[in-house]
Each structure stands twice: as structure tokens, then as C-alpha cells.
Subunit: 416 residues, 2 copies
Amino acid sequence: MPAAALSAPDAVALERLLAVRPRLVAVRPAGEVVPGLERDLILHAAPPQPWAEMSELLRGGMIGAALNEGLAATPEEAARKAAAGEIRFAAAQDHASMAGGVGSITWSTPMMVIEDAASGRRAFHPVMEGLTGKALVLGMFEPEVLERLRWMREVLAPALESSLQRIGGIDAHALMIEALRRGDELHNRNAAASSLAAELLAPGLAKAGLAAAEIERVFAFVRTNPQFFVAVSLAASRLACDAADGVPGSGLVTACGANGTDTGIRVSGLPGRWFAAPAEVPEGVFFPGFSAADAGRGCGDSLLIECYGLGGTLLAAAPALWPVVGVDEARARQIYADAQQIALGEHADYRVPLLGGAAAPAGVDVRRVVATGLRPVIDIVLVHRELGRGAVGFGLTSPPLACFQQAVAALDAAAA
Amino acid sequence: MPAAALSAPDAVALERLLAVRPRLVAVRPAGEVVPGLERDLILHAAPPQPWAEMSELLRGGMIGAALNEGLAATPEEAARKAAAGEIRFAAAQDHASMAGGVGSITWSTPMMVIEDAASGRRAFHPVMEGLTGKALVLGMFEPEVLERLRWMREVLAPALESSLQRIGGIDAHALMIEALRRGDELHNRNAAASSLAAELLAPGLAKAGLAAAEIERVFAFVRTNPQFFVAVSLAASRLACDAADGVPGSGLVTACGANGTDTGIRVSGLPGRWFAAPAEVPEGVFFPGFSAADAGRGCGDSLLIECYGLGGTLLAAAPALWPVVGVDEARARQIYADAQQIALGEHADYRVPLLGGAAAPAGVDVRRVVATGLRPVIDIVLVHRELGRGAVGFGLTSPPLACFQQAVAALDAAAA
């Protein structure tokens, strides 16, 4: 760990970050639970982006969301309403929520509800469609995609909710601790975590009164969706970072996302302000038939999880993911060591067996990033830059240094 | 891999070993499925041991088995009948079965039934009690142990059987491939494999018509028993080794076990003959309050799984197990490299992410063991040498070199 003592504000922010103990307590429609959501509002990956400045890819995701929610009957109507301000947009992370990829949150989106037991604070992420094949989270909105979303709303989400109430929720904190021992890093590998969640949900689902055919479809959905749990791990990072937000003077990163055009961060000391710069194009390993020319700029709120201390930061926990994102053991170890240099502390409970049980670096400090030039390393799904083409591989990216530099300058200005 | 070309017999035996694709197809009482089992016969960990020569610990396990099966009403009656030959004993591995620890197989023991799809060949392991707390597999037979075994026979086993028939069995081969990517080595760490099995069994269990309270108890049993799956992985190793048995001239190890007194092996070229020597006392990491003075000699059929190519051979796949058995990354890598030197080939499907996807060494060759002096390294639960004390830690052991030397000499004599 860095030798430098923490400033009092950073110590407070870190303490709040580390005190969070996430539980998955419910699955509810976004309109019932997400603060500040309205029927004509679509939440997307941060930073906030007006319709006129959105990438074609993100616009596609928003059009799909409008169709899925019934805010428009055709893509043309959706685009017209968006341009006219009849459909509005905001960043999910400004609403205690996370939107993956070019995904969206609208009034009826079924949300995983994550709660901190001690404080009652909540955060949210849509029930995950999955990243294989066609999905709205990848900017696709063919009839088969919308039909699956309807089934998720009408059958899957109520079944998950019924199960959660019967089993009294799931201790996501304990589950994530064990998943790190089972080869997940909890961003792009949640295979073990998803199986653990399925195992915990099973007795509740068995009693949920589902028809026989639906029982099989629900279990098959979870079983064939190794990213089912990412909805929980991402919302857990949102929950902890929200808890750490708003400590004057603290440089702890409390939000991070990319919207296909820009990447942005927020810091605890200046709540509500985004510091953005053009998003980088991730590098990585492409699926057969694709190359670097196909990759679009980074997109998605999931970049936050590395700032919390999981995901790419802990690639050393997930050897099965190394060839997928294009790293080896030495690189995974270096990413961890670099993350220690820019973190304010560590998560005593989140540990990496391969590193002798070393703890996860916790809470990225914008000042340490600027001082060292080291940035959080994020593993990320690569989405094709053209709408409708979907995922093309996996790789690594980082928020631009300019984001951190702007935040430090603003913190300095606020202190002056 | 060793550069030396395989002899024709070894090539045949290895090919048969590698061709096996284990499926979990049923859970049935041993009396219905285990070849050669009779109502007065108790199967124990190999090598075969007459009652008069059994260790106190193994005798305790046999007495518990007799009580559990109703072959005797008191420990004294069980011991008297055993001494008189009214209760008989044999090695489980000579009956296509595996007995863990000081465990036993009797007529009504519920068995996991593992089948090779292509050949129809079957192998068997009791549904696993678990290794924490009190269990017959650790030589304990208090009323609470026998009561749990009754519930396992009367409720759990029929529920598992019902689920398996509804879901059409479980592809254990595919499951083990994925578990190696989730930090299991499939001998003393089966946490991920057990969750995967629970996930696959769940929809079948949901439809099995269990009472509400029993649903919870069944799921809780599996969830709190991270060694639930070892019954499958051990039977899979028995299945493959039986397939490889009986090739004249082959030195492939087809059986390996320890009975608390001796450790023994069999080889493909001399089916049915055991080559035994005094079992070593495993070294390892003791639970608080215990020390090396408490450990008994190795006991259990599970030693076979390392000869098949899983377990300790693949400790590099299971970093979370390293501190439990007392190894570090360098030692785990060395064990793998040494195993390559004594293996006849490799399992193309069983791979270790940490080792760049290197394949599991497959099939221990007695001649290579004798030529190199390298022995299979087995991770093992340490059982207290006194009856009724249970597990005291985890560690490593190896079959004595004398077993391999005897086998090579016998192969040479048979060829002369």
C-alpha cells in the first residue's frame, strides 16, 4: 500500500466505502424504486450526454429502450421525440443506478435492488439480459430481443422477486468473497457468482408456484447467462461509491462510466460534477472475423467496478479470463500492483488466492492517479462501433488521464 | 510430456482411460447397482484388509457401517460377527466403487451412479455426507450421524434420483471441465463443482414433489456441503481406470487407496492384484489444537483421483486450496511438472487456466515412477489416528515407492 497517510476527508470517504455490506433484497420495476426516474426519462451509461451529441451506437440503445418501454412505436418516432425533448435522458449513475454497455433503464425495467443493511441505502442495476447473441444492452432491438425482455419483465423478474422474499434476500457481500475464490473477478467473469446465486435462489424458486415449463426456462436463463450476477456486483459498486460521495475535499472516485463518446468520472469532494474527456477505444482480443477497426469507443457504467476495487483490478483472481482479455499472469500481477499505488486503502474481505490472499485495493484517489500517471485498468466487452453488430471481443481500457487532472484542478480550486 | 514413446499396451490402456466421458445418471441403493455386493458384505477403502489386521480407525468405520445397515445392534455384536466371518469385507475399488476416508458401502448405501455413455460401463460412490463435523466417513457413528444417514437414504437420495431422471442426468465431464476454471482441483476442493451440480439439479428438484420443508433441507444439504461433488469426481476416476484395466503388459495404475494401515495400487497389466506397503502419515496443515502427532496413516480410496490426473496433480487450478494443504504457487507448479514426468499422456479436455491452459497429466505409469523416483502427490484430509476424533487438517501424501517397485517386478515376471 502507498505509504502516504490519508487526508482526513479521504479517510472519511474510504471508511464509508468500506462499511457497505451489499445484500440483494428485491427485484422491482425501476419506476417503483429508482430515485428521480420518470415515465419519459431514459437512463444511460455516464457521463450525461444530450441526444444531439450521442454516438450512433448510444442513440440506437436509446431508441431500443423507447420501443421497449412503449414511448414510441417506431425508431423514427423515438428519434423525433428525443430530438424534441419529449423523451429525456440522464446518466444512470446520477440515479443510484448502473446501465451496462449501451443499455438503458426505463420505467418498467426490472431492477436488481441492492441494499446496505446498516444504512438502508440502495442501488440498482437491470436484471441482466446476457451479453451473448442479441440484446438491448448491446444496442439491438429486434422483435426477439423485445420478446425476451417482455418475458423477463412478466415472468423472470416476478419469479426472482418471489424467491428473494421467500429466502430473505442474498448476502451479496459473502457471495462475492467466495466468488473471488472461484475464479471470478466480478466484472467480465461472474460464472461462479452466478451459479452461487442460482443455488441460493433455487429453493425459493422451487416454491414460487411457477408452471413446470416456466421453472425450466427460469433456471435455464440463469444457467446459460454467466453474467447474470454482474447486475449485483455492479450495483454493489454503485452502492459503496454513493455511500462515499459528498465528503468535501476527498478525491475518492465515486462514479465512472463511458457513453460511447466520452468517459467521465465524479469525485467525492464535488458531488454531481462530471469530469469527462473523449473515451479511448479499448484494445483486446477479438472474436473470429473482427479486428481493432471494428471496436467502438468504450461504453457502459461498468467501468466503475474497477474504481471500487474489483474487476480488472483483480484479474489475478480469474486466470480463465486472461486469454479472453489478452493478459498473462505477469500482467495480471502488475495491474494489481499498480492499482495498489492509486488506491486509498483495501477491502479486508475481498481477497485474491493467487496473490497469497492479498486484499483488493479499494477506492481510487484522483490525486494519486495524477501523481503517478497510473490509471485504473478496466476489463471490458468490446462492442462494434456500428449499431446492431453487437460484441466483437474483450479487452482492457482506462479512463483518460484528463478526467483525473480536471478533477484534481477542481478540488484545488474548491479548496482555494 | 515425457519424450519416450508409449509401449503398445500402455497406448491401449491410455486410450481407454481417455475415452471415458462420465455422466451422473442415477442415485440408487448400492444393493441394486454395485457388482458383487451382498447383504453381509461391507466395502471399505483399498487395499483389501482382513478384520484381524484392520487399524482401530478402520474397524470403527466398519462397526459404524454394520450398525447403520442393521447388521448388528451394538458395536460389540458387530465386532463379534466381523471376527467370526458373519460380516465380511472387501475393497470397494474391486467392485467398481470408491469408499472415502474410513467410509463404507453396504446394501442400502445410496450411491451416485456414474456411467460412460459410449460403453455403458458404470462406477459408484456413496452420496457424500460431508467432511465437516461428525460423519460415518470419518469413523463416527453417534445417533445424530445415523439419523442423518437415514434422512439421506429416505429423502435426499430419492429426491436426487427423481431430479436426475427429470433432467436426463448430468454431463459430469463438462461440469468438471468448467469446475477446473472455477478454482476446483476436484479432490479436496469441489466447491464450484458442487454449486454447478446444484444449479443443474435445481429444476428437477423443484418438480420432484417434495414437501416445502424438505425442499429447503435438500438444497441446504447440498449448499453447505462443498464436497458434495467429490462423489462424482471420485467415481469418474474409478470409471476411467476400470476402462483402462486388464491390458496385458501395461503399467498404467488402475487403482490406488489406503486403508489406514497399508497403501496399495493395482496396474492394468495384472488386474485384481494389489501391491501394498505400509501407508505413510500425511504431512500438512493442522486445524487449531491439533498437530502432527494426531494424524493417522492415510485412509481412503480418494488417492486414485491423482493417478487419474485430477486432485493434487492440478493444485495449480485451485489457489484457494493452497494455504489449506500448505503449498505455494511454486510447489503447485512443481507438482504439476513432476506429474507430467510419470504420466503416460494428457487429458485434452481437463485444463489449468493458471498454467496457460496446460492439460492434466493422465494415467500414472508405474515404470516411470520407479525410473524417476517421482510419486503421485495426493492432497488429502487428515483424520485423527484415534477413532471418533474426526478430521484434524489437510495435507499431502504419496503412495510408497515400494508399491510401484513391486508392480514393476511383477510385470517383468509376467513378461518373462
